[in-house]
Symmetry: C2
Subunit: 391 residues, 2 copies
């Protein structure tokens, strides 16, 4: 697999860091998840079935687990030995915590000169907010992302999903995958940092570009698009249809498919600028037609005509949609002792070396023996560590 | 830099693909952007200053550009030669278009056995929707993402930013960075595919886990959190405050900071479950206190107390925020002939080999001469290609 042979020591917990290391594991890395004695708190979050949080199971597939109480010096000695034998260390403590555990930059360099160290945090390791407590919601708010999310006449809204955690995790995985081969080849390590807030800010995309160019940011507008119409969610006979008309060629196709080709020649609607200026009118005309038939009718007819549209799926509908099923976006993963866990599949499809679930999410401390043995601990030493309550 | 020496042939346009190749370029890859004669349509989108779209400039930094009219066989010959000298090919045509241009899997393998080919599309290259026209909005709708975004009593909302394009671009960059070193070392290429819809579905995260475990997905709830309270946006004396209280320890800190420590011992509010059950009450109590002082007052006081909170920034506020400035999340990039362009900075911070703008976004066809020369075209051949209108 692409990342086979990459050994990752994973000190992360909850979401952003574990998502990052899950991605590395999905691509073949050997991820050693180190948990405090009480375990990653996600083990106790979300719906539990047969004694297992399916949320934890999903985000911790393809990892091995070791418990270490890093408040104890013997545990820090174990961690130091594991780091010396790894390629990558990932952590999502607040800035400074890793150093206070005894692993500042100098120590890490001494332990392993070519180590790639990746820190994920809320605001970055420098700057006036570095020590603030961080949270997905706060990053969504502070980054400006929320200001673009919501109805024009409603409040700024967070995304209902923890996008800043997930996007930061993706950036961290990308930076690690990019940096690790060179670090190994050159013998020179790298320190990587990704913050939730920076990650979200990077998603301001065209809103940032337009603001920086003009001093004015696009307004929040619900499902409307600031520079395209018709564009939004329209009621149908039995549900709703998401419709996106990015330009005049697509509008001509839509008009023809709706049986109203003359709309594409009407000066009120012929150009995108005209349609944006007459958004309420064209939405009313298009909406009136769409309301007369079912969502399935329009999805079939409009897609055949090359018009981008689709249903607005619930989570239940999405996770049983024929396309997502064909794309294997829901997996059944046997979890010994916990039955079969269903979880999201792999958005990265690699033909020769596909992502796969090589191992289910680990039990707490499940792989302590083998991980310590690989690190050179003798059976007696392992027994002693266990007896001392370090593991 | 981490990806120095990686040559990427970039056939992508608009957003998802160009974002992917921008990330690779930011990390040091040599990206050759191939545009049709009329250019990437983003050159004509967004605010234009001094003859340059700042949206285009932001998403196409660190690339070189070549114009090729791939409807002409001579242009396809040039592309074939470029592919033979590259490591990676990225495209975001609809499935099948690249093959119809003469570059099916067999041809690509024959041209370059260890090439990494990455396709970004709407729904994936297999399955019933593979040929549908795709669009960020449709992927947000179909994936279930929109069903989790919006107010409880309002419609499902797309994110105001093109998250499916951006997330798919991130996944594609990660898969490429992971696959490329092994492909080069082994001589065996890889084919990668990332769809906008799969990328968005992968972000269903805990909503997917809970749905798959229980048959019930969390309800859309605006800024409320399904399993935590108080959590949301609260008015202050002069604005709004985003506040996130994930557990009882944080609530105790909040209660103390608000001067009402007894709340943390009140059975109506002492536990997270109790606070969720009494969400309206605790929101009213907390909101009543927060409304009495300014946002800045609370941001300072509550963060000092370890309570996650922050302002709800507009795009303008975010892009002048002291923390984002300290993190260099806005860059000034000299663009010869177009003044200085301001754009978003790098969310991946690498200490030894930082991302940087090695070159501004290219003019159309700017690097034709040097790219063709590197591919072995003689000056006479280049002149002939130019005279024939291929470039």
């Amino acid at each position: 697999m692409p990342l086979s042979g990459l050994r990752v020591i994973d000190l992360t917990r909850v979401l952003s860091g574990p998502f990052c290391t899950m991605l590395l594991g999905d691509l073949g890395a050997d991820v050693v998840k180190i948990e405090p004695p009480e375990g990653d708190s996600v083990r106790r979050q979300g719906a539990v079935r047969d004694g297992l949080s399916w949320y934890f199971a999903a985000f911790n597939r393809n990892k091995r687990a070791l418990r270490l109480d890093l408040k104890r010096p013997e545990a820090c000695d174990v961690l130091a030995r594991l780091i010396a034998g790894a390629d990558v260390l990932v952590e999502n403590f607040r800035p400074g915590v890793l150093a206070r555990l005894g692993f500042d930059a100098d120590r890490l360099r001494a332990l392993h000169p070519s180590l790639v160290v990746c820190s994920i945090n809320g605001f970055g390791g420098t700057g006036p907010y570095r020590d603030r407590p961080a949270f997905d919601f706060i990053a969504q708010a502070l980054s400006g992302f929320m200001s673009m999310n919501g109805m024009a006449d409603g409040p700024p809204l967070r995304s209902g999903l923890p996008v800043s955690d997930l996007i930061a995790g993706l950036y961290a995985a990308l930076a690690i995958a990019a940096a690790a081969p060179r670090a190994r080849a050159s013998g020179q390590g790298e320190r990587i940092e990704v913050s939730l807030t920076n990650a979200m800010a990077s998603f301001l995309s065209y809103a940032a570009a337009n603001y920086l160019a003009t001093g004015t940011a696009p307004a929040r507008g619900g499902n409307d698009h600031p520079i395209a119409a018709p564009y939004g969610v329209f009621p149908t006979r039995d549900g709703e249809l998401a419709l996106a008309i990015p330009d005049d060629a697509f509008f001509a196709r839509l008009a023809a498919a709706l049986g109203a080709p003359a709309l594409a020649r009407d000066p009120l609607y012929a150009t995108n600028a005209a349609r944006v200026a007459n958004r309420a009118r064209i939405n009313a005309i298009v909406g009136g037609r769409l309301a007369g038939e079912t969502t399935a009718h329009w999805v079939t007819l409009l897609n055949a005509a090359g018009v981008p549209c689709g249903p607005v799926a619930t989570v239940a509908e999405a996770l049983s949609d024929p396309q997502l099923m064909a794309q294997e976006m829901v997996l059944d993963v046997p979890h010994p002792g916990h039955g079969t866990v269903r979880m999201l599949g792999f958005p990265m499809k690699l033909e020769r070396h596909p992502c796969r679930v090589r191992r289910p999410a680990p039990e707490p401390g499940e792989h302590a023996e083998e991980i310590l043995a690989e690190a050179g601990y003798t059976p007696d030493e392992r027994t002693a560590l266990r007896a001392a309550g370090v593991l």
